[in-house]
Every structure is written in C-alpha cells, then in structure tokens.
C-alpha cells in the first residue's frame, strides 16, 4: 500500500483519477458491488425456458413444412430446386410420375422422396426462396435435438403439413377440368364431389372423407 501511494505521488496524472490514494483503492470494490447491488432492483432478464416459452420472431427460420392445396393435394412437384439451392446439400428429393391412380400433386410430377437432413441444414431459407410452388415454407419450431443422426433426417411424412379440416387425403385426382396452373392461382378452394367420390371408391376407410364431405357441402350451400 505504501509503495503504491509513493508511486501515485510520483505520477500527478494518477491523482486526478478521483478521491485518489488509499481511500480510492478502498472504495473501488464498493463501486463494483454497487453495480451488482443496483441490478438487484432491475427486472429479471432470465427466460424461464422450458417452462415459459417466449415466441420467436414471426419470420424466424425454424423447421420446414411441405404445404398442401386446399383440396389436400401436395404443393411439392419434386423439382429439386430446393435441393439445388441448398448450400449445405441437406435436401434430397426424388420425383415420380403422377398417374391417374396415384395423383399426389397437380401436374405430371410429385416428390416421392423428400428428406431434409437437419444435421446439415443451416436454416438459411434459400430453399424457401427457390420453391416455385411455395410448397416449402419454414415454421417457428426449433426443438429438434435428437439422439441419432438417422432420426434427424426428416422424411416426407414428418415434413408434410397435416391435413386440416376439409382437406381430402392424397392420393386423389385433381379437380376436374383444372390444370396445375389453376391450382397455383388459387382457383381450387377445396375438394369437389368427384374427388370425394373417387376416394370413397378407392379408400372407403379414409379418415379425411367425413371432413371433406362437410367442407364440400358447406361450399355448395354458399
């Protein structure tokens, strides 16, 4: 202490620091604790995840989703542009033929195999920008951790949006008299009676039939 005060005395600019000397050194920790102490009266910033979940930003890049048209057909046409755009090579798509018996999306082609490797994905969203039919979008879900590498390769079943009320499960034919372009323009607003009849004939047990019938009936009334 005496050494340091001697040195302080030898250097005049040090004196200008404040109270100076021994008293200054003595009070320095108090100032530090002051910061701590004053923070005790500030609001707590700790987020209580996982008990309290703060919503992410609305356009947060979370888990992907493969969307559907209102009648239940998939929007994905298996064009692989998402896979092409992907800088991390995390997407694997294989297209296949839509046949009258096995129509998954409007048009000629649908994505038969669709996988996203979440262990490569960097959530950059380039795939979303590349998608020509807006089939692929990103949600806000981020709880993706898992114990295996295989389990974090999400397949089409995991990525495909669930059928909402009124949608008809695929495969089923397109709305009669429409083209893929009509679908894209939003001119198809729900399953039609012919589509429902087709599914009734091919898969009488399909759980989405009831909802689709209701939706078609409501629309007919309107």
């Amino acid at each position: 202490m005496s050494e340091s005060s001697e040195r302080a005395g030898g250097q005049p600019e040090e004196k200008r620091r404040g109270l100076g000397g021994a008293i200054g050194d003595l009070l320095a920790p108090v100032a530090g604790f002051g910061v701590t102490f004053s923070n005790m009266f500030r609001p707590t910033v700790t987020e209580q995840y996982p008990y309290v979940r703060h919503p992410t930003a609305p356009r947060y890049h979370g888990r992907h989703q493969l969307n559907r048209y209102p009648d239940g057909l998939e929007k994905c046409i298996g064009c692989e542009l998402c896979a092409w755009a992907c800088p991390a090579d995390a997407i694997f798509v294989e297209g296949a033929d839509n046949t009258p018996e096995n129509q998954h999306s409007p048009g000629e082609r649908y994505g038969a195999v669709y996988q996203i490797n979440y262990l490569r994905c960097i959530f950059c969203g380039l795939c979303i920008e590349a998608c020509p039919t807006r089939a692929l979008t990103m949600g806000n879900d981020f709880e993706l951790a898992g114990p295996t590498r295989e389990g974090l390769i999400f397949t089409k079943e995991e990525l495909l949006a669930p059928l909402t009320q009124g949608m008809l499960g695929v495969p089923h034919p397109m709305v009669e008299g429409t083209t893929d372009r009509d679908y894209y323009r939003g001119e198809v607003t729900g399953p039609t009676a012919d589509q429902i009849a087709w599914v009734e004939r091919e898969r009488p047990e399909d759980p989405t039939l009831e909802g689709a019938r209701q939706a078609a009936a409501t629309k007919a009334v309107r």
């Binding site: 297209g95 296949a96 048009g107």
Partner: protein
Amino acid sequence: MTTTQPAPTGQVVPLVEVTIDGVRTEVPKGTLVIRAAEDIGIAIPRFCDHPLLKPAGACRQCLVEVATPDREGTLRTMPKPQASCTLEVSPGMVVSTQLTSEVADKAQHGVMEFLLINHPLDCPICDKGGECPLQNQAMAHGRATTRFVDVKRTYPKPLAISTQILLDRERCILCQRCTRFSDEIAGDPFIELQMRGARQQIGTFDSGVLGFAGDAPVGAAELDDSGRPFASYFSGNTIQICPVGALTSAAYRFRARPFDLVSVPSIAEHDACGAAIRIDHRRGVVLRRLAGDDPAVNEEWISDKDRFAFRWQVAADRLVAPLVRDGEDGSGPLVETSWADALDVAATLLAQRRGSLAALPGGRGTLEDALAWSAFTRVVLGTNDVDFRSRAYGGAEEADHLAARVAGSGLDVTYADLDGADVLLAGLEPEEEAATIFLRLRKGVLAARTHVTVLGPYLTRGSAKLRATLLPAAPGTEAEVLEATDTFGASDGDRPRIVLVGERLAAAPGGLTAAAALAERTGARLAWVPRRAGDRAAVEAGLLPILLPGGRPVADESARAEVAAAWGVTPPAAPGRDLAGILDALRAGELAGVVVGGVELEDLPDPAAALAALEAVRAAGGVVVSLEVRRSAITELADVVLPVAPPAEKAGTFLTWEGRPRAFAAVFDTAALGDAAVLGLLAEEIGTPLPDASMPAWRGQRVAAARLDAPAPPEPGPGQAVLATWRLLLDAGRGQDDEPHLAGTARRAVALMAESTARGLGLQGAAEVTVRGPRGSVTLPLVLAGVVDGVVWLPFSPRERAGAAALGAQSGDIVEVTA
C-alpha cells in the same frame, strides 16, 4: 469436334479466307460458317445444328448477317440474315454474328421468342431443366418477359413412342435432330415430322395422326419384324441430342435433376467395343448413363444397352459378403462370413489340392483382372488348365487362332480403318453384337467409302442398313463358302480390305482357318471381334491353355523363361485343358477343384453337364471357389463364394476388339473388391503372393495355327432343318436385368426361314413353328424371310419367351421343325 463433311483422304482442300466479327481466318473450302466461327472461338447459338448430322437449318436460331463480294469485289450484304449452320464459307465472305451485328442479334431474339411461344413453362419438372440448351439460350439471348398473351398449343403428354422413349410434343422446337439421327446414323427412321404449320409435330408413323387408313406406314420407313414403332437399338441417343426436353427416358423420368448429378467418364461393359460413356450418379446411386465423346471409338453414339442397362450392378441378388459352407465338414448351406474367414477357408481348400485345380475366369473382366487370373492360375494353382471362353463354341482351332493371330498383336485394325474399306463380316452381326462397329460401318457405307459383305444365313435388317452383300452360308458351311470366295468388296482392290471375324465363327469348324486363308488370299487385314468386354484382355493375359501373357506360347521354352524371369516363378510347361476338357476332367475326377469367375451356367455348351461336373467334383471331395458379382447357378454349387465388384465400383482397363486400352475409374468408392484384388488376397493367404503379370508383347515364334479342313456340312433329313442362332443385343442376358423399359424395345422373338424350307417342311401358312432340339423345344411365330434353304433361324435367348438356348443345340446342329 468432327466436321460434317470430312475431306476425302489424299486430297488437298483449298483454304478460303473469311472474316467473322472482324477476325480474318482461313478455313477449308466447304466449311460451314458456324464451324468457322467456332474455330476462332465465336459461339453462335443453335439448336438443330449437330456436327455429326447433316445440316438442316430447321431452328433458325443461328441467324447471322452475311456479306459477300460481288463480281467487282464490292461487299454486298445479303438482304436477310442467313442461317450459319447451312451456309458454306465463300472467299471474301464477311460474317457478323450477334456480337457485332444488331440485325443478327435482333433476328436471334425474334427466333427465340417464336420458339418459346408454344413452349410450356414446365422447366421445374422437366428432365432437361438444368442442362437444356433452350433454357440456357433463353437466358442468354431471350427476352426477360413474354409478350405472348394467347393460349399455348398443348398436346397430351407424354407420348410413349416406345417403352423407353417418351415424347413431349409441347416442348418440341422441331429441330429434327432426332429424326435426322434416326435416319442418318441409326438407319431406323421410325419417327418423322407430321402435319403442317402450327400443328407440325414429331411422331411415329401413327395412322391416327397421319390420317391414312391401314396400319402400315406409307413413308419410306422400314418396319422391323417386331412391328413396333420406334424400335431402334440406338433410340437413346435421340434423348441425349434433343436440345429441349421433348424426348425423355422412361427409366430416368423424374429421377433426378442434372445439377444434382455427379458425372464420371467411363467405358461401357456390355460389349467388346469399348464405347465411351458418362455415368451420372447421385448419393451412391447410378441414375443414368450417357454417351461419351470419343471420335476414335464411338463418336457421340452408344447403343441402348450401353445406355440403359446398368441396374444389374446393384440388383437384389448382388453378393455383398463372402459366403462359406456352414458346418464342420463344409456340407451345410452357404452362410455369410467375414473376408478373413472366407479367404482362410478358400486358401486351405485350394492349398490342399494344389496341382489338380483348374480355373474358369470368364470373359467379362478388365485387363488387370485377366492378368491377375493368369498369374493366379500359373503361380498359385500351378496349372495351365484355364480357359476364359465360357461359351458354347470355341475349341482348339479358336485357341490356335487367338494365339497365332490375336494375342500380343497390338492395335491393328481400328474403327477408323472400317470407314473407307471393303469389309467382310464372318460370324458377326454388328448391330446385335458390336453396335459401335455397326455405326462406324454405316457411316462409311452412307458416304460410299465402305462396302460390307456379310457371311451368314440371311441378310438381317442390320446388314440391310449396311447395304451389305450377302455371302449366303448355312451354319456349318461357312468354311466351305469362305474357301470358295476369291474376292469381296466393290472397289477392285482400290480400298484396303478387312475381314472381321466374330467369335461365332469358331462354331463352324474350319471357319477361322478359312477366314485367315481368305484374308491372306485377298491381302485383307484380319481382326477378331469377341462379344464380351473382357475377351480381348483375357487373350492378352493368356487365359488360354496354350498361352501365357503377351501372346507367349506355353510350349515355347524361351517364352516360359521370359515369364519366369518377370514373375520369379516358372509357369508350368505342359499345355492345359480347355473348357470342355476341364469340365470332362472335373466329371471324371481327374481334377480336384476349380476356381470360377463370373461364369453363367447357361453360357456353357451343355449347362446340365456342367452342373453335373461341378456337383461331381464336390461329391468327390473337391472344391469349387467362385468369384461373382451376383448370385448365379454356380453360387449354389460353390464351397466358397467371394463377392467381386461390378465395373462401377472398380477401376480398370477394358481392351476393345481392336486391342485399344480403355481405362476407366471407379464411380463409387465402396468396400467391394475387384477380381484382381480378391485373387491377390487369396494368393497372399495361400502364401504365394501374385507377381505383376503384365508383360510386353512376345516377339518370338508364335503358335502355328493349325490348318483345319472343313468337315462335311450337316445334311438335314425330312422334317429337319439346320439351326442358325445368335444373341440379339437385347435379350435375357443378366446384364439387362431390372430394366423393364429397355426390355420393351427388344426385337420380337420369331423363327425365320425361307418360304421353300417352310414348304418342304409342310409349314405353309403356319403361324407358329415348334423347333425341337436334344434338350427341349420352343414354339415361336414363323416369319418367312430370305434365309438360306434348309435353315431355321431362332434368337438365342430372348427375354419374353424361350429361344434357341432351350434346345440344347448350337448353330449348325440339326433340329426338328414342326408346325
């Protein structure tokens, strides 16, 4: 890049000076403007132009502004832009491309706009999207937005013009590359332009589209005997040269996008032609194969078999782990085991029986594999009992022929020689057995540089496309006919003569001798064309009982000494047994085991007898070790099965029929080992490491080819005929497994005979005939054709139904024919 009209050899072509975009250049007279521009690095956009096809000027995308000097020498600009792909250069011509001329640029923009009017906007789902010249050039030379507001012309799509080729007429820009290829190169003009104006479209000769009655085309198209529309062995090339996605492959449809694929150059493994291919794969799976560009071999064309048949390499019956017999005594069923265990078991079994073992290495391996087999047989097994010829024919005469005239002869007759020669084909049907030879011959024939003479029982459609002269010969009489022939060809000796003998000529006793004699008589060069990719390499490696590597005769002491000096081990001195001898010795118990490499029982002269021989050797405590890619009939008879890699998973070198080495790299880096690696490991395990068996060609005395006199030709009795048969390009071969789309383009299986033969056999008006051989009978539709009298031709093993293979008879055997 090859020019469209190569200069006739020996003539000096005058040079013409032209100016393109201000650059003065001199090109040979007759050069097209678009090529002259290419030479100085100016790219003019084009769709219909292809360097190997005749100019068409169909797409008009290559419009340029051209000025030529008039009589006084003043430059006069042509009133309209000209198509540079059909315009030949003239002295003093001044060409302005889109780079320097606003007129040309505007014209090209206009053409592009017209081309896109009816082109659908389905690039995201089009198989061509990403490698599409139209897409690329629309980006480079097109407008950013469309001015077209009306409804586009649409067609139902896709239209399957064969099981393999799908046509999407909406996307077609009518460049006619496909029709020109089919007509000019393949000779199968089954697709053609139809209709007029806006409704003009490519199509097969469909009576509905053309609007004429009856089901036969009125055009000049030849219908093949299948009656199928686009039944061409080369149809896949139209997909590759289509500048838009109008022609696509059913097998590859929607499987991948080009920007996802990794391309590896490789060599086709289905025949001995060594066609360059490009293998496109993605994430461990081969998705398609395309023709490579090799002017010296296949130019830019490959057969559909080379293009579409590749899934056999990953078929469900592919062996992935070594198999050994379960149980203490080795009599149980085959079970999977580790490599260490399998090598240990195989080494023990083989080492115990050293000295009484033989090898049947098959003819599908690379040069490296063949050399390893050769060294393994001589050094480890200690024998000369080795024969690669796992096929129904080929005895001592063929072995002598190969030793005397083929082994170590290097590159003699080449593809380039075939273009500009009088060629005699004996025992060879190039369209079916060597497609690349067929295309090269046809190129020469169409240019009137080549003349083809075919020795065979009838003028096949393939030969007709070669405008060939037929030397009619019933099977078994080939030697006689060749001996009676003094000359062939149409040029009186101005052109070089070439005799191409196919491996099938060995089925006719004396045939090879007679062919060699004819070649000597006429001053022709002789070349041997095998069917399998590895046959020539097997000959070079000495996989014959009388031959060591490089064409060294086993019987020659100095040759053996050379081998001993190179290998450090003296090869056995006694000539070994050939295929038939090995099978006989196995049956008789003279041999205690055999190492088999990828041999199909069905290929052997008598599959039942071969099966019995292998069963006999195992029953007598012998050993069968098999090196295979996929499970086969031999697998079930083996004590140890060692899986080997298919061509996609190993690197190596195929030798073409010419003797040209065709090296290729592995497509995938898998755990599978090639034959050479497996044999090396096995030899190490036995304790005799394999030497590097490659040796330079032998310069010393060759085996003297035995002169074999032709035996009396077969004489069919009443109700009988002589069988003629060969393998078709597309048949039941295991190399074409899992390819349903390809199988649909195969030729229909029919029995062919002359009308007189049919009358003699009492078969007038019969729709089907039954042919009976020693082991069975087949019934096939009867088609009357110009076959030699007394001969019935059957396909060897078509996929859809049984062929000659089921008869137990060979070409030249007598079979019974009934209605």
